[in-house]
């Protein structure tokens, strides 16, 4: 038997023209939750740093989301489990979380319609992340660049967040579209 994974926003056609402000839906991102004792947190963070190519997002003390744009879910889970053996638990969330990337000169103004944190780059710096709400919906929110932000949302809320973001971006003619190839079989 052969099974296909379906992205929850599959079927959204995408904008005809890419505007300066753009909402990107990366098709396949491996995401894992990493949990550790508070006393082991520093070791875990050091472990991420040693790995080099992993993106780490703060969720809570002793809890992170780890992202990979190149690895498959199962490989990421395996690699993290090996990397963090005995100091952390790894839970695959690749299918349970959806990544949305908003970029452009007006990204801050768009997000300020839903996000209560101060988005000034001196306050919420590049690489910083936090769990917060965008409008009604809980997200893991990160600044991935001066004018680029990533929102990781529960899969069941992905469509609502997507529609909310489009409404927030309407003023700036926000465009959107998928990026990356089709997900492989797990």
């Amino acid at each position: 038997m052969s099974f296909q994974s379906r992205h929850p926003l599959e079927g959204k056609a995408g904008s005809a023209v890419r505007a300066v402000d753009h909402l990107e839906i990366p098709r396949s991102v491996a995401i894992a939750t990493v949990l550790s004792r508070l006393s082991d947190a520093a070791m875990v963070v050091a472990g991420f740093a040693a790995a080099g190519d992993l993106t780490m997002r703060n969720v809570a003390p002793g809890e992170w989301l780890v992202l990979s744009h190149v690895e498959r879910a199962v490989n990421l889970e395996r690699r993290l489990a090996a990397l963090l053996a005995d100091i952390a638990e790894v839970v695959d969330q690749s299918e349970g979380r959806v990544l949305l990337r908003l970029s452009g000169p007006n990204a801050r103004r768009i997000l300020a319609k839903g996000v209560a944190v101060d988005l000034d780059p001196s306050v919420f710096t590049v690489g910083q992340s936090a769990n917060l709400r965008c409008g009604h919906i809980a997200v893991n929110f990160a600044r991935s660049g001066e004018n680029e932000f990533e929102l990781i949302v529960f899969r069941s809320f992905a469509e609502s967040l997507f529609e909310d973001l489009l409404a927030m971006g309407r003023e700036f003619d926000l465009s959107y579209g998928f990026s990356g190839g089709l997900a492989d079989q797990g």
């Binding site: 099974f3 994974s5 379906r6 550790s36 299918e95 979380r97 209560a116 988005l119």
Partner: protein
């Protein structure tokens, strides 16, 4: 004809004309006009009818505190009722209508109320319409509401869009007058992130209407130059058309920006209003001061305004309020208005000064100045024609077409007093000032009692410099601008002008006059808060901006005490009215609440599911097939098919939590009331979670995947609640336990495959052996689907049938569900929904939150023996033993069957003893869940009945008060199908 557009001057663009309509009549104004200034320029003095007496009313102010000039702007669904003409920016095509009159503004039948006014004193409604009580709702109130009122809200759907936005700053400055602008310059130059909010469409505040020179130029030139500099500073945000309406916790301010209220056709992609939440490290109120109206006889006739309003119309808008203007003042400020008007070529009828020792003024030599006098009446029809002044018994009538009244100043301190701090009386300034509310919020300029231009400029700069230094910014002292000749702003105390020959109004909008306050005092409502409610003083849409301090002063005078003793009524948000649209923002229609969808949503849609909203979730409810006309037909077919063959149901919405740690077993043992510590690896167990008070909180399953790895499920509704509860337990109650957990609800698509043929279907899907020997009831494990996809399999059942729950990574859910249906085709599989799931569980007597409704103990629901007596402690253990929770007559869960098979039992119905009078006094219990059982061919129900388990076999009345039906039913054990659960374990 009296009011007119001056030949020159003002900050309006005279090269462009804007057409607009008021009550159908065409008028012309200019860009830069408010609706009020444009109407005044067209000599339209009569703008409204008052609330109670329907008296003709005109403009009193030129700003936000306007009590009279409320109009409806726009047409159809785009109508804004109760808009103050004084702040409505004029645009081409604006359509405004007067309110509260019939048949017209000029001939208003309601004005008869004025003749009845001796009977309509304060408290009239309270006294007259007290009884009979039923008449109030049906007769009196509708009548009163129709007679007295404001604009009418339209019932059409609002076609506009709105949104909310956050912004953050070091310093929020509210108000862009001299103090605000000067503060913004100081703070902006020092590098603070500054937000300068101004409610007006043109920034500059009082500078736009002040005739005093700054640096040799007009004040408005100074404002323009300052704003131009601020616009170049990237750290400064200028927000015109933005009213800061509230001050909230953590120094967050609420503000509403009118983005497109000044255009005939809004641009669709922009909101018409934007609600801002401004998180400010510091805030500076530079909100200025209101000029106090004087309370004298006939002070509400159209043409009577505050002197500063007349000055503003002349200086800012180039409009003369009349050709012969009288000034009535108790201080020097009125003289400045007179001088301004003379300079514009407007005649001054007289200056009436209540002070007999008023200082001489050189440049008004030709003006008649009447000292030591007071106006006692005015005359004219729907506009002012004459005034009557009185001095020591001498009366004289003077012709005039406008009166500028100047009664001193009230600082605008509302924001500072919205969070509990009370205004403090200043006998020096004869008004209320803001109290010290801490470092987060400071007050500058006129709002702090500095009434001269130079003092405002200096105070704004100084307060901003203090704040900047406080936040660690270096400030360079700037040279203060040179201010021209100023007027001493002092005034004498005068709350009420004695000798009034007609009504002397305090609150114009609610028609409260001085005698009403006296009546309130005589009848025991002399406390300021009582007087407010008894007379309605300050209860109108202007919230007493002009009347509040005067009412306090008059009451103080009547009581013979200082206003400090009387105090002033509480200031609350909003400072000025905010539209519901702005408060709702985008949260309407699809954006009102998020829609949560299961990973199998698309699969269910393709299989024809009808969905039901369960919280935020949209769950598949039933899957109708051709020929089925009702949900019951479909549900019956689905239930029977599961009992006979096999069905597939989406259970992805249940909460799923991974639990790790060396103390995970201990943690769960304390969390649930039943034993969990010794749950073997590879097994699942039902778990019952209590609240501290011994009542059931939630239930679900606990599975063990490893020594230190558990997986728990929750009900759909309490998934988030249980996770927070666990966080609380781990962080607060037992921080010593080594346990960690995370929600994986969204990671898994989970399907229940239930029915006698479930094994055949599931086995066809997976590599692993799931025979009853290899994978008995309550087994759990990781399995491999044919083709290699890893999945989790749980042998648990909520239907009483042989059942498996198969969990696959969410994205694969649809694909796997399709394959299950395909594999089950030969076995007669069907998709079934929430309705069938509910019937299946009721037939087995399984409980949901319909039973666990927050009142039920484990024993009530028949789980008494499950509660562990061995465990040293668990949540709910201690309080489970308290008296009320162990009483013998508690309502216990039972089953119900109708005595006659064709009768219906509905959830929510109550239970009565046979023969008892239908009344809640005789209540024996209630039906928690009910359905038609297609297996048994009649209704079945779960119910809670007093001492129910002792009453099996008893006939009882099911009383449905809503449908007025009584049905006889037999009490039975709460299980209707397969009571020995033989089908589960095969």
């Amino acid at each position: 004809m009296t009011a007119y557009r001056l030949p020159e001057g003002g900050l309006v663009d005279r090269t462009t004309s804007l057409d607009f309509r008021f009550d159908g009549t065409r008028f012309k104004g200019h860009p830069g006009d408010t609706l009020a200034s444009a109407l005044l320029a067209n000599d339209q003095l009569l703008l409204a009818r008052s609330f109670k007496y329907h008296r003709p009313r005109g403009l009193v102010t030129a700003g936000v505190s306007e009590p009279n000039a409320l109009v409806s702007i726009g047409s159809g669904a785009r109508t804004d009722a109760n808009t103050r003409a004084t702040v409505a920016e004029l645009y081409a095509g604006l359509e405004a209508r007067s309110q509260n009159n019939w048949p017209s503004l000029k001939y208003d039948i309601g004005a008869l109320n004025n003749l009845l006014s001796p009977f309509l004193s304060a408290g009239f409604y309270y006294k007259t319409f007290m009884w009979p009580a039923a008449f109030w709702e049906k007769l009196y109130e509708p009548l009163i509401r129709r007679a007295a009122g404001l604009g009418r809200a339209v019932l059409e759907r609002d076609p506009e869009s709105y949104e909310k936005c956050w912004t953050h700053c070091d310093l929020l400055i509210v108000g862009s007058g001299p103090a605000g602008l000067s503060a913004a310059l100081t703070a902006g130059r020092a590098g603070l992130r500054v937000v300068l909010a101004e409610q007006d469409f043109r920034m500059g505040g009082a500078l736009l209407s002040d005739s005093t020179a700054i640096d040799g130029n007009s004040a408005s030139v100074f404002a323009e130059a300052s704003l131009a500099e601020l616009a170049t500073l990237p750290n400064v945000t200028l927000m015109p058309r933005t009213t800061v309406f509230g001050w909230y916790d953590d120094n967050v301010f609420g503000a509403v920006e009118r983005v497109q209220k000044h255009v005939a056709q809004p641009i669709a992609k922009l909101p018409v209003e934007r609600l801002w939440r401004i998180a400010a490290k510091r805030a500076l109120l530079a909100t200025g001061a209101e000029e106090r109206p004087l309370v004298f006889g006939g002070n509400d006739r159209p043409g009577v305004m505050t002197a500063s309003a007349i000055g503003t119309y002349a200086n800012r808008f180039g409009v003369a309020a009349g050709k012969s203007v009288a000034i009535f003042t108790n201080g020097n400020a009125g003289y400045r208005t007179a001088a301004d008007l003379l300079r514009h070529g407007v005649g001054i009828a007289a200056i009436i000064d209540t002070r007999s020792d008023a200082p001489a003024v050189d440049d008004l030599k030709d003006v008649r100045i009447i000292k030591g006098a007071g106006i006692v009446d005015t005359m004219g029809g729907q506009r002012l024609g004459k005034l009557v002044f009185e001095r020591s018994g001498y009366e004289e009538v003077i012709a005039c077409d406008a009166i500028g009244m100047s009664g001193g100043f009230n600082p605008v301190i509302h924001l500072a007093c919205q969070r509990g701090a009370r205004p403090v009386w200043s006998s020096e300034l004869d008004t209320f000032l803001a109290p010290d509310v801490g470092g987060g919020l400071s007050i500058a300029g006129a709002a702090a009692g500095y009434y001269t231009l130079s003092a405002c400029l200096a105070d704004g700069a100084e307060k901003a410099a203090t704040i900047a230094a406080d936040l660690g910014f270096a400030v360079t002292a700037d040279e203060a601008p040179a201010v021209g000749e100023e007027v001493d702003p002092s005034f004498t105390t005068l709350w009420y002008v004695p000798g009034a020959k007609s009504k002397a109004f305090v609150d114009f909008q609610n028609d409260v006059h001085a005698r009403d306050l006296g009546l309130a005092l005589r009848e025991g409502f002399g406390h300021i808060e009582h007087a407010k409610r008894y007379t309605t003083n300050g209860m109108a849409t202007d919230q007493g901006k002009l009347s509040g301090v005067n009412a306090a002063g008059i009451l103080a005078g009547m009581r013979g005490v200082s206003p400090a003793e009387v105090g002033i009524t509480t200031f609350r948000p909003f400072y000025t009215p905010v539209s519901f649209g702005a408060l709702a923002g985008t949260a309407r229609d699809m954006h009102a609440a998020p829609k949560r969808v299961s990973p199998l949503h698309g699969w269910a849609e393709r299989n024809g599911a009808v969905f039901v909203e369960a919280g935020l979730w949209h769950r598949s409810s039933w899957f109708p097939r051709e020929g089925e006309r009702t949900w019951r037909q479909t549900t019956d077919r689905e239930v029977l098919n599961v009992r006979e063959n096999v069905g597939l149901c989406d259970v992805s919405t249940l909460g799923k939590i991974e639990v790790f740690g060396t103390d995970a077993a201990e943690f769960l043992n304390r969390l649930y009331c039943n034993a969990m510590a010794k749950l073997p690896i590879g097994k699942a167990r039902y778990g019952l979670m209590l609240r501290e008070d011994g009542i059931v909180y939630d239930d679900g399953t606990v599975s063990r995947f490893g020594e230190n790895h558990f997986f728990v499920t929750t009900t759909t509704g309490l998934a988030a609640g249980v996770l927070s509860h666990m966080e609380y337990c781990a962080q607060v109650l037992w921080p010593d336990l080594d346990v960690r957990f995370t929600s994986v609800t969204d990671q898994w698509a989970q399907m229940s495959i239930a029915g006698p043929k479930a094994r055949a279907v599931v086995q066809a899907m997976i590599e692993d052996d799931i025979s009853n020997v290899a994978f008995p009831y309550l087994s759990v494990g990781v399995v491999t689907l044919k083709g290699g996809l890893k999945a989790r399999l749980f042998r648990i059942s909520f239907s009483g049938e042989l059942a498996y729950e198969l969990a696959v990574p969410a994205g694969y859910g649809e694909s796997v569900a399709d394959a299950v249906i395909e594999a089950g085709r030969a076995h007669g599989i069907c998709a079934y929904g929430l309705e069938a799931l509910n019937v299946l569980r009721l037939e087995k007597g399984y409980v949901t939150h319909a039973e666990f409704d927050g009142r039920v103990t484990p024993d009530d629901a028949g789980f008494g023996r499950m509660v562990s007596a061995q465990k040293p402690d668990f949540i709910g253990k201690r309080l489970s033993t308290r008296y009320g929770l162990t009483a013998a007559d508690r309502m216990q869960m039972v089953g119900l069957k109708p005595a006659e098979k064709d009768k219906t039992i509905r959830a929510g119905a109550h239970l009565l003893k046979d023969g008892a009078k239908p009344s809640t006094i005789n209540d024996q219990g209630y039906v928690s869940s009910a359905c038609f059982s297609p297996v048994l061919g009649h209704d079945i129900a779960l119910a809670f009945l007093k001492s129910g388990r002792e009453r099996y076999g008893e006939r009882i009345v099911v009383w449905d008060r809503l449908k007025n039906e009584e049905t006889m039913a037999e009490v039975c054990e709460p299980v209707f199908v397969d009571p020995l659960s033989a089908k589960l374990k095969v």
